[in-house]
Symmetry: C2
Subunit: 236 residues, 2 copies
């Protein structure tokens, strides 16, 4: 989120902060993408790499925190600059959690390898992850180019994630009810689906933070939310 200041080194510091956020974003997206490839294609080696890669986000989050505090102490920024710095702290928390979601999915690769099921079990998860990552990439682009219009568009697509999550939940529950042999694999896939749904939530959190950074006000608290899985019973 580039801005212009009379103090050029302050600009540099702020740009450095948003560059670090962009790096975290790229890393988080890449982790989630590879975790899905690992679980869908039963690639345990890739899963291990994803799990090991998580440390980058943990460290990056802390570095952003420390730098943000140093900038505030040194520059005593006001208004939009201060919001930008606080925004970076908040966004780094969401990106670190998205990395955790990728790590969690990757961790399930080993157990799913032992109880491997046919490909159709994994297709829904793949498509769902693609949708959540599209949302996340969109919000990261909108943050980079500081576009309020694009940011608000992300929030409006949140219900697509909820509706796809509900379908996937229903599908996996059906497999479990059809044959108890599917219970273990589907239980783990349900958790993966939940992780992906949370990636969508984090993308929306980031969108709300960016909206706040740009405008100084948070968007209305009630976002559209249509997760029907809390009402799904057996065979429904």
């Amino acid at each position: 989120m580039p801005t212009q200041h009379t103090v050029r080194s302050f600009d540099k510091e702020l740009n450095c902060l948003s560059k670090k956020i962009a790096e975290m974003g790229t890393h988080a997206v890449h982790m989630v993408e590879r975790s899905i490839i690992a679980i869908v294609h039963d690639d345990k080696k890739l899963a291990k790499q994803v799990i090991a890669d998580d440390i980058f986000l943990d460290e990056a989050e802390r570095k952003i925190d420390e730098e943000a505090i140093l900038i505030i102490a040194r520059r005593q920024p006001m208004a939009v600059d201060l919001r930008e710095i606080i925004g970076a702290i908040r966004i780094s928390v969401d990106l670190e959690r998205i990395g955790d979601m990728g790590k969690n999915i990757a961790k399930r690769t080993a157990i799913l390898s032992d109880v491997r099921q046919a490909d159709p079990f994994y297709h829904g998860l793949e498509a769902f992850a693609a949708l959540a990552l599209k949302q996340l990439n969109e919000v990261l682009d909108a943050y980079a180019c500081c576009s309020l219009g694009r940011i608000d568009a992300v929030r409006e697509h949140d219900d697509e994630i909820d509706s796809m999550y509900t379908s996937l939940f229903r599908e996996l529950l059906t497999y479990m009810l059809e044959d108890p042999c599917n219970i273990t694999v589907c239980t783990h896939l349900l958790f993966c689906a939940k992780n992906i749904e949370r990636i969508g939530d984090h993308a929306t959190n980031i969108a709300e933070t960016v909206h706040y950074v740009i405008t100084g006000i948070y968007p209305a608290l009630e976002r559209p939310k249509d997760d029907q899985t809390y009402r799904l019973g057996a065979g429904k």
Copy 2:
């Protein structure tokens, strides 16, 4: 986390911030406690109240953000004061998410009411929630009295949460494998258990933030983590 300053109104502002965090903490604990009562005792009215109560934490988180930014802009604090303010922002995010966990558990009360099972299905969840809430209360107390020793003790008990989560996951999976009629209720209870495990994670996050506020450095990144559920297959 009370501190002393020459500028008395600054003290007031910082105390006001930590008072708001304490209020959020009490509210979050209360939400989770009642969500468990609702689901265990099939109390749909209580579940609705919990869901409605979540707005308090959403609003409180935003208020803390806004006040923190105002204080930074007005007082230009340094060192521990600045860390305390940034810490309040981070802790409020965790407390808001803990409230979400309570709301998520409460939301499952209605569906579990339709497919009610015998009491033993719920005992594990009740005990697990009690343990997570004990951790959360401990970290909130340690924050209030600014005790580094008590904060670090919380981190050491994190593995108790993981081990209890693993047992509960195993127990619920066994019920599902025994009888397909249990699949729906146990799937929802597994998600409740996961929510409680995340409450434990948030408590640990808060402990790490408080450690940072007090000492200026984050504790070592690798916390003890022994969640075995990623390795649990059918019948294991």
